[in-house]
Amino acid sequence: MSDTDTDESAPVVDELRNEIVARLRADLGDAVVDVHQVPQVDLWVRVTPESWRSAGEALRAQGFDYFCFLSAMDWMPSPFGDGENDPTEEVEEDPAASEIRQGYTGGDTRFQMLARVTDTRRHVSVTLKADLPQHDDGTMSIESWIPVYAGANWHERETHEMFGISFDGHPDLRNMYLPGDFEGYPLRKDFPLLARLVKPWPGIVDVEPMPASDDDEGDDS
């Protein structure tokens, strides 16, 4: 459940975060799919997409009344490669590089919801995740968080515009940044960054020497 880097023999116990998880499990039951904890640092919880809003309500009832942000993740590696790599260097073919690999708390879908709420009294935050299954026509939708956190309004508009995820119950999913007739979803990984395709970045050539780095650190390539 937790992968700490602490080398002490006694594991760090984070009672506050353990209690949060226990209450969340009591409220939501099986809807809590997975939990990842770095004691004293942070907490990740993945819930089922059906319980996205009720998870928000449960957290709010626990005292997490400060809305931090809401967004999404596209876990597919970019089909255009890593833009930051040195274009003059041969890239070795790695079949694992094109695999979809979800981060903390795992998952089954390419897209995931991501949101963070904070308890300003206990000074603790939770990052909430949920899988986003695609419907038959390729669209995705999830319940809106506006009834729980009014501040989610703009964040959901932004997520809709950038990832193409629609939010059930959102009153107004107009674009915030792009023109109304813009096609495509810019933050999806399969949306090309045209400027980078036309002219590759010099990448690694640009790395400036670090002031404290001695010559024994790596070779100058």
Binding site: D65, G151, L178, G203, A212
Partner: protein, 390 residues
């Protein structure tokens, strides 16, 4: 404390409803008013579309996006050290403060920590960014209400702070000075003495502004009881920084979380105000500039010796993982959700900027106010367009 601000708001709404009924009797016609994109009160290009009934706002909606630069996408094709050059430009008045949470997130993933001296200097520069940023806000506040003198004073005294930042980093607006594992350079000779002098000047500036602006009757009557935001609403919208503390929420990320910065070594006060109106938001910011000068003074006295850079590989690869780090920036909570797949660059960076949340409350808070109050409320919420649009 919350009770008081709610009651104030209710009486305010009731008074406005009475006026609105009068308008109905007179059968005034509605009107749509566009404020911006080019308006001195918008700090960039924010457009407010307001539906008016007489002098009152029935409905208002800000329209952002005139300055969207797509930083979240651009970070995906940059190496970790290159990203700081971009994120400098999010909140351009307090640039150094933008770099710190990102660098800390990368360091958290790499499991390294900057040496104590670097942490100290980071904190000093962080607070200098706050002073430069918020002192301009204090001067600008006057302009929004027709007073021209404060802004000249602000530009005059901010210059000293910008000179300090330039002296240490080489950049007045975009230092790009923070590195994974420490700082690019140590402080130049004589910089600390200079800083002590400037902090005295800035405290004088705060006193002057307090006399000139906060003591002004017009300023008070235009901000007191205007744009009241109760604590519950503020938290729900994710208001942060001075806006949240002005609603009585005692929460400051400098004090309330443990990051490898030097805030635990200084003694400072987190100011709150129970009223939640425009006045409270401005007043909190004035106090925060004062506190920041005191923090800088204390940090200068306790600056530890040693290196400013820890050992990092020449080519930085950040191990796979996810990290969230947010700091108390001049505008509020600014944080980065950094996802790394073990490559040279981040897989995804979600940028949570303070102004985006702070300004998303405007449709709520502008409902029912009078047209001139739109300007003072927006000014007191304080946003930077680059921080909304990213």
């Amino acid at each position: 404390m919350t009770m008081l601000s709610e009651r104030q708001q209710m009486s305010y709404i009731a008074a406005q409803a009475a006026d609105a009924r009068l308008n109905v009797e007179l059968e005034t016609e509605g009107m749509t008013l566009n404020i911006g994109p080019q308006h001195p009160a918008t700090h960039g290009t924010l457009r407010i579309i307001a539906r008016l009934d007489g002098e009152q706002v029935v409905w208002a909606e800000p329209s952002a996006g005139y300055m969207h630069r797509g930083y979240e996408k651009l970070t995906e094709v940059r190496t970790f050290p290159q990203v700081t050059a971009l994120i400098n430009r999010i909140d351009w008045l307090g640039s150094f403060a933008n770099e710190v949470p990102f660098i800390l997130a990368a360091e958290q993933l790499m499991d390294i920590e900057a040496p104590p001296r670097a942490q100290h200097i980071r904190t000093i520069l962080f607070e200098l960014s706050r002073i430069a940023n918020v002192s301009l806000f204090l001067g600008d506040l006057g302009v929004q209400m027709g007073a021209v003198t404060p802004v000249f004073m602000a530009f005059r005294d901010r210059e000293y702070v910008l000179n300090l930042i330039e002296g240490a980093t080489g950049g007045r607006f975009h230092p790009n000075f923070d590195r994974i594992g420490g700082l690019k350079d140590d402080l130049p000779k004589g910089w600390l003495d200079e800083t002590r002098q400037v902090m005295k000047k800035l405290r004088n500036f705060c006193d002057e502004i307090e006399d000139l602006l906060f003591g002004n009757e017009i300023f008070q009557s235009r901000t007191r009881g205007i744009g009241v935001i109760p604590a519950d609403v503020a938290r729900q919208y994710g208001l942060s920084g001075a806006n949240l503390r002005a609603s009585g929420v005692d929460w400051d990320l400098r004090r309330d979380q443990s990051l490898p910065l030097a805030y635990d070594k200084v003694d400072f006060r987190v100011w709150t105000h129970p009223d939640g109106d425009s006045w409270a938001r401005c007043w909190i910011r004035l106090q925060e500039v004062r506190e920041a000068t005191k923090i800088v003074d204390q940090l200068i006295e306790t600056l530890p010796p040693g290196p400013v850079m820890t050992k990092v590989p020449r080519i930085i690869k950040v191990p796979e993982g996810e990290a969230w780090v947010s700091t108390e920036n001049p505008l509020g909570e600014m944080g980065y959700y950094v996802v790394s797949k073990g490559d040279l660059g981040p897989f995804r960076v979600k940028i949570r900027s303070a102004s985006f949340n702070n300004i998303s409350i405007t449709p709520w808070v502008l409902k029912g106010v009078y047209v001139p109050d739109i300007i003072t409320i927006l000014a007191s919420l304080y946003f930077i367009l680059g921080d909304i649009d990213r």
